[in-house]
């Protein structure tokens, strides 16, 4: 390894309204070093990357490359400084050739026309350099994900990248594809190019990285040589925060089984899932983004296509092919996208509350305005929706109150099993507490809640039982004392 402080980040901070995303972050990477960067969802990795890419402007701090300060103001500038970032959702145009993707925006020309021969020859040379044997005229859309990543790497090299950041490159790769990416990383290393490798998969980090930096809550917690740290130590450092958030207490009265799912397999899933839910229970679903939590619940609710599996509600087998069937079985689904999927945003509070169960407000064959108003008022009072009137458009309510309208809608539908996907996302702290209290109230009344959340403290603080998902499978069921951050992350990673 060459210059030990080849790439240096000094005291970088970034604040978003209400949250300190990066707090005085400093780290340095040596020339030719492969550095792992790990941390939970929301630890600040993405923010750091976006600063290095020139997408975000840091509030304070400096970045140095080879001792010279780099003022990264735009992605183009970042490339000029030799920083390349390969994002998980690759930035390639499927319809164009490999060569054109690599040189997009700076194609060599002869006079006014593109000199394709030269462009393709240059691309070929780059591809050869990373040992990717493919015709540069191939359409990118025809490549596998790994192939596309190699094109991204070739593109990075074309900018004479000196440091390459890879954001979870392995998430969608097969073992064999991953091996070829690893080979290329080793090759880059031997050429003195540094790599920052962001991944949730700790096994890989031990295979390919020289060192690891652990982030948590916007801070760098530690940096270690890879042979000086164990897997468990990494996990502990990642989750080691004291849980300073308090959750309203409740006494759980868990009754009989109300939902049993056996061997549920949705189209495209890597695995089947089986689990059960009891009366009066809050079942937390933990896991990393992309572990298949939302997708599993969407399948259960009849949104995504289910290939096989059985669902029993209160002991009776039910067939769920659509949300309509799920609703009939007493299942409710509060999606993570409240505004697009949960609400009809420019309709009134009243019409949103009654929309999932209009049978209740019928008198004869017609809807009764009186009953509709009564129903709306009942729920506005019952769960304390702060709205000037039932005629207010939900668009004008705060996030927390919008979420309450969604809850009201499902309470009105007499749902006993309530699936909540990220119920407190984008809601301020006070309103979060109210949602937690609402969840407690629901289960105390004998309803059952399945809660998906990426906020670990929330899952830990609210759940009677936690299922951990990874790669579309439920890999652990935690109860009692085992519901703690270290256990969850041990399985989730």
């Amino acid at each position: 390894m060459g210059n030990a402080e080849f790439f240096e980040i000094k005291n970088v901070s970034k604040t978003f309204p209400g949250v300190k995303a990066l707090d005085n972050v400093s780290m340095s990477v040596a020339e030719g070093e492969v550095r792992a960067l790990v941390g939970e969802n929301g630890a600040g990795k993405s923010t750091l990357m976006k600063i290095l890419n020139g997408n975000y402007k840091m509030d304070s701090g400096q970045i140095f490359i080879d001792g010279k300060e780099a003022r990264i103001t735009s992605p183009v500038k970042a490339a000029e400084y030799g920083i390349s970032i390969i994002f998980q959702e690759l930035n390639l145009v499927n319809q164009l050739s490999i060569a054109e993707n690599i040189y997009a925006g700076r194609l060599k020309t002869k006079g006014k026309v593109v000199d394709w021969k030269a462009v393709e020859a240059d691309a070929k040379a780059l591809l050869d350099r990373i040992g990717f044997d493919v015709d540069p005229r191939t359409e990118v859309g025809k490549l596998s994900i790994a192939g596309k990543q190699m094109v991204e790497i070739a593109k990075a090299l074309s900018y004479k990248a000196r440091i390459i950041l890879m954001d979870e490159p392995s998430a969608t790769l097969t073992k064999a594809e991953l091996d070829s990416i690893f080979k290329i990383i080793k090759d880059l290393k031997s050429k003195g190019i540094s790599v920052i490798y962001i991944s949730h998969r700790l096994e890989e980090i031990f295979t390919i990285c020289d060192s690891v930096t652990i982030m948590r809550d916007g801070k760098i917690i530690d940096t270690k040589k890879i042979n000086e740290i164990t897997r468990d130590e990494i996990v502990e450092k990642m989750v080691g925060r004291e849980i300073n958030q308090t959750f309203p207490k409740r006494e759980s009265h868990i009754g009989e089984e109300v939902l049993r799912v056996t061997g549920l397999h949705r189209k495209g899933s890597k695995s089947e899932v089986s689990f059960s839910l009891h009366k009066g229970e809050v079942l937390g679903i933990a896991g990393l983004v992309g572990a298949g939590r939302t997708e599993t619940m969407r399948a259960l609710y009849g949104v995504d296509y289910v290939t096989k599996g059985e669902i029993y509600v209160k002991g009776k087998k039910v067939k769920i092919n659509s949300p309509k069937d799920a609703k009939k079985a007493g299942i409710a689904f509060l999606t993570e996208d409240r505004k697009e999927e949960g609400l009809t945003i420019d309709f009134t509070v009243k019409s949103n509350i009654v929309m999932a169960n209009m049978k209740k407000i019928m008198s004869g064959i017609f809807l009764s305005t009186k009953k509709e108003n009564q129903t709306a008022d009942k729920y506005i009072k019952l769960i304390n929706i702060k709205t000037p009137s039932r005629m207010q458009k939900v668009l004008n309510l705060s996030g927390g109150n919008q979420q309450k309208v969604v809850v009201a809608k499902w309470l009105n539908a007499d749902s006993d099993i309530i699936i909540m996907d990220e119920p407190t996302r984008g809601i301020d702290v006070g309103a979060k507490l109210e949602i937690y209290e609402l969840i407690n109230k629901l289960v105390s009344e004998g309803k059952s809640v399945i809660m998906i959340s990426s906020e670990l403290p929330e899952v830990l603080g609210m759940s009677d039982r936690v299922l951990v998902m990874k790669d579309d499978a439920i890999i652990a069921e935690l109860t009692g004392d085992r519901i703690n951050a270290v256990e969850v992350m041990r399985y989730a990673l």
Binding site: Y301, V303, S322, P323, K324, A326, K327, K328, F333, T335, E340, E341, G342, L343, T344, I345, D346, F347, S351, M355, A356, M358, K359, M362, I365, F366, L367, K409, A413
Partner: protein, 332 residues
């Protein structure tokens, strides 16, 4: 305000500003109604015969076909699409209604066939909308396609010639008759509007239809069968095109394969100038009534002024563009 003399002037100003603003908002929110009143006043100024019973009944008779068409069009607008094939469907149903009456000797059979044909075209549109999970963009192309099919089928059926029917007395009465001085066709139209308005506002089905158009994702997740709503709305639009064809042929006692040319646009313009929103889920039959009357008055006035029917489309086009701008203005 009155307790403090020095401030009273400011206070009054503010009050006045507030009320001006309120009136402004009121006008903006009811711009379509205002347009209607302006048109009526204009009509009265232009022609002193305007407010005669004769002229008003005549006007009603003239706008009925477009009125029925616009009712159907609005249903497809509400569900989150729109149907531009209803003009061709009108042509097809017109020639079928008269042609089958002629060949079978029964007006009832002719009408049934026409309604079945209209329903079939609408059903096809609806099925394709469901299949493509379509919104406005798909609706445009799908109904363009079915409109070509229907219009060609109409021309093929009658070899491009107008068909003259036998015209049973009761059949003619639908288009030409009166009950207590009121045109039967207009009674049918207003009946349709009232029933549809009640269905939209007061039944579960109507509410689900509107929800599907307003936000198909949240409607679907709330257990609404959005695909079914589309099928029903488009099928009804086809059926209303057939009813419009029956009324039209009853009035003219002939079926022309070109009678529906432009009728789809007339219905669309009327629906939108009445205040139905281009984004689904907003509007209803009151708006249809207002729009159809405004549009009828424009046509009536242009006719009174002797403007050539080809030139009239310039005016109507401009009116549509204004209506679209107004629709956007309301959202602000």
């Amino acid at each position: 305000m009155k307790s403090c003399v020095t401030h009273s002037k400011d206070g009054e100003d503010m009050e006045q500003k507030l009320s001006v603003k309120k009136i402004g908002e009121l006008i903006r929110d009811n711009i379509n109604l205002v347009m209607l009143i302006v048109m009526i006043v204009l009509g009265a100024i232009i022609s002193k015969d305007f407010f005669t019973i004769n002229n008003l009944m005549n006007l009603l008779r003239r706008i009925t076909v477009n009125g029925v068409m616009a009712a159907g069009f609005t249903l497809t607008l509400l569900v989150g699409g729109f149907d531009l094939s209803i003009g061709s469907t009108l042509s097809l149903c017109a020639v079928l209604c008269v042609g089958i009456e002629k060949s079978s000797g029964s007006a009832a059979i002719g009408m049934l066939v026409a309604i079945a044909a209209g329903a079939a075209v609408g059903l096809l549109n609806g099925l394709l909308m469901k299949l493509t999970r379509g919104e406005s963009g798909e609706a445009f192309l799908i109904t363009l396609g079915t409109s070509m099919v229907a219009s060609s089928a109409a021309l093929t059926y009658c070899n491009g010639y107008d068909i003259y029917g036998v015209n049973a007395k009761w059949y003619k009465a639908i288009g030409q008759g009166n009950i207590a001085g009121f045109p039967i066709a207009a009674i049918i139209w207003l009946g349709i509007l009232i029933i549809l308005q009640i269905v939209i506002k007061k039944t579960e089905f109507g509410r689900q239809l509107v929800l599907s158009g307003a936000n198909k994702k949240s409607a679907f997740l709330a257990g609404v069968n959005v695909g079914k709503m589309k099928i029903i709305a488009f099928t009804l639009a086809g059926i209303f095109a057939a009813i419009a064809a029956i009324i039209m042929t009853a009035r003219t006692t002939a079926g022309s394969p070109r009678s529906g040319t432009g009728a789809d646009f007339d219905a669309a313009i009327a629906s939108i100038i009445g205040g139905n929103s281009l984004v689904g889920g907003k509007g209803g039959m009151v708006q249809v009534f207002i729009g159809v009357v405004i549009y009828g008055l424009i046509t009536n006035m242009l006719n009174l002024m002797g403007v050539d029917s080809v030139v009239q489309y310039i005016v109507k086009g401009v009116v549509l563009l204004i209506a679209i701008c107004l629709d956007n203005l309301k959202k602000r």
